[in-house]
């Protein structure tokens, strides 16, 4: 067992990726993910790996496409505006069934936005990672420890299902330091053989082709439906969520990533005031833990989503509970992190029977532009 060390989220994630067998990293500088690239630039040459600063995000993701097609465990890292640029390559990777780990240390948007923490890429990550009919797996860590643990899982699931996997972090998780126990390095020899990869056939096998092109419509539909079968398996096997304080809960807060830490503080404060409130933290955003949310929805009178956005995950929560209970929202965006006290006020209003969608421009505590 490794010892506990104090590390920044971005660096813990980078080291965990190396320990998970990642030997190729292609990226382009952008705040606030800089530490991931800097760590890789320092470490990769010493372990016989590749760190390459690409000419653009577009080039970086296509280098990832190439290295993944060649069978390597490969990663890229960026932040919101840069991930928009990577969408093209990610769509091609979905179409060509290529695994890779893509880090998005989110910042405020749209456009150039800001460089402070945000969760406004939820829709992009879970709905629209490029054109076409497809998905990627999306993990939302909430601690430095999870930054490390989930990146290792991301490589495994990517290879298992031949699908790109995103770690949807944010500037807060990336930049903060926490104690972390890093995962043990894997033995590269134990990784499953990728018989589909481009390695040169060495006159030993039929040649492999990696492609997302199907000019014959029926072949394209067949390919998409085959991939959908895999998505159904993933939706059954891989949803993850952490459920806390639910035994006696009459209402519950739903939050992911860094927002869940603030929500937990608020839940504790509200409980100290005698409010029976639970907490649900989705860890996978796609596949969304629908069944867990649905079960929670059956148990409580109301739900409150807390996000660093104007409300994106709330749509998945409402779908999961089929609007059988009122789902309210509280959040800030563009780098303003909500305070636990603000969330406590929102919890109290939910308990009082209100349904609201608080957008903070009217009033941070009582505003009701719903």
């Amino acid at each position: 067992m490794s010892e506990k060390v104090l590390m920044k989220g971005n660096e813990a994630l980078a080291e965990a990726a190396i320990r998970a067998g990642c030997r190729h990293f292609f990226g382009y500088p952008i705040t606030p993910q800089t530490e991931v690239a800097a760590y890789m630039a320092k470490r990769m040459p010493k372990i016989g790996g590749t760190y390459l600063q690409a000419e653009s995000e577009v080039a970086a993701i296509n280098m990832v496409y190439g290295a993944s097609a060649a069978g390597a465990r490969v990663m890229t890292s960026s932040s919101s505006p840069g991930v928009s640029l990577k969408m093209e390559g990610i769509s091609y990777m979905i179409g060509a069934n290529l695994p890779a780990v893509i880090i998005n240390v989110q910042r405020g948007g749209p456009g150039l936005g800001g460089i402070q923490p945000s969760q406004a890429d939820y829709w992009m990550a879970t709905r629209a990672m490029g054109h076409g009919d497809g998905h990627i797996i999306v993990f939302a860590p909430s601690t430095v420890q999870e930054m490390a643990d989930l990146v290792a899982k991301a490589f495994d699931l990517g290879d298992k299902y031949r699908i790109p996997v995103m770690i949807l972090a944010d500037g807060l998780l990336g930049q903060m330091m926490e104690p972390v126990i890093l995962p043990e390095p894997i033995d590269q020899e134990n990784l499953a053989d990728k018989d589909w990869a481009l390695t040169g056939h060495q006159d030993q096998r039929k040649h492999n082709t990696i492609s997302s092109l199907f000019l014959e419509p029926q072949e394209l539909e067949n390919d998409i439906l085959k991939r959908r079968e895999r998505y159904l398996i993933i939706e059954q096997a891989e949803p993850m969520a952490q459920v806390e304080y639910m035994d006696d809960a009459e209402v519950a807060v739903v939050a992911f990533g860094a927002a869940s830490r603030i929500a937990r503080s608020a839940v504790n404060k509200a409980r100290a005031n005698g409010v029976k409130v639970g907490l649900v933290r989705p860890v996978t955003l796609w596949p969304f833990p629908k069944d867990i949310l649905s079960a929670v929805g059956d148990k409580v009178k109301a739900l409150l989503c807390v996000e660093f956005s104007t409300g994106q995950m709330i749509e998945d929560v409402r779908l999961a509970v089929h609007d059988k209970v009122p789902v309210s929202f509280f959040g800030h965006t563009g780098g303003i992190v909500p305070t636990p006290d603000e969330v406590v006020v929102a919890i109290e209003r939910m308990v009082a029977g209100e349904q609201f969608h608080i957008l903070p421009f009217k009033s941070r505590l009582t505003g009701g532009a719903s």
Binding site: A54, A59, A70, T199
Partner: protein
Amino acid sequence: MTTLTAEPVEAKVAAKPKTLFSRTPVLTDHITNYCPGCSHGIVQRLIAETIDELGVAGKTIGVSPVGCSVLACEFYSCDMAQAAHGRAPAVATGIKRAHPDNVVFTYQGDGDLASIGMAETVHAATRGEKITVVFINNAIYGMTGGQMAPTSLPGQVTQTSPYGRDVKAVGYPIRVCELLSTLDGVAFAQRVMVDTPKSVRAAKKAIRKAFEYQIEGAGYTIIEVLATCPTNWGLSPTKAFAWMRDNMLPYYPLGVYKDIKAELAAASADAADKGGE
């Protein structure tokens, strides 16, 4: 005086038929999708012959991006990757970095290489990625039906330059070999064409040299092939070659634009001369 004697008819019949031309092994038996008279078939055959002659089919990985070049994925029996439009040099970079001992080539058209993929092209070249780029310059977008390309000539009529390419409005064609030859990462750059048996032989020699340089680890190598697109030019194959010679050749002169091994040899010969004085 020599007496001519007729060969017995039976002997002719008994002679084993001699194969004069056949498919080189690395090509698949996929039926070509290319239009009659198109240069793609000739160039892809030359790449295939090179791979087979060098005996590297088992360790070669090809990359074919968007445009008519994407069809190449079907024609080679070495490992192949299809790439997004313009991104072949980046994909090839990823492959080569993962497998430095493999032979990696890209097969790209002019819109792909010199328009949407110019950043990837220039940076793969300046990094000296050990890949071979075969660049088909036919001065038009073929797959999408004949639009203006970055290499379309001044005044050239295309679907999207119906009054002729107006250089004052849309700028000038890009001379890729000349541009890339300024970069230190480029080991070999040559412009060739494939209009006659003689020029085809020269093109083959250039492609082979580029592959050899890659295998030796010399750096980035590119062969630009002046090519025809009879369908979108609206010309017969022979007239298309004549148009190419009359119009493209003056703008895109053939020749070796970069050859670091020749430069090194010349430099050391020069130094030896000076040392002898």
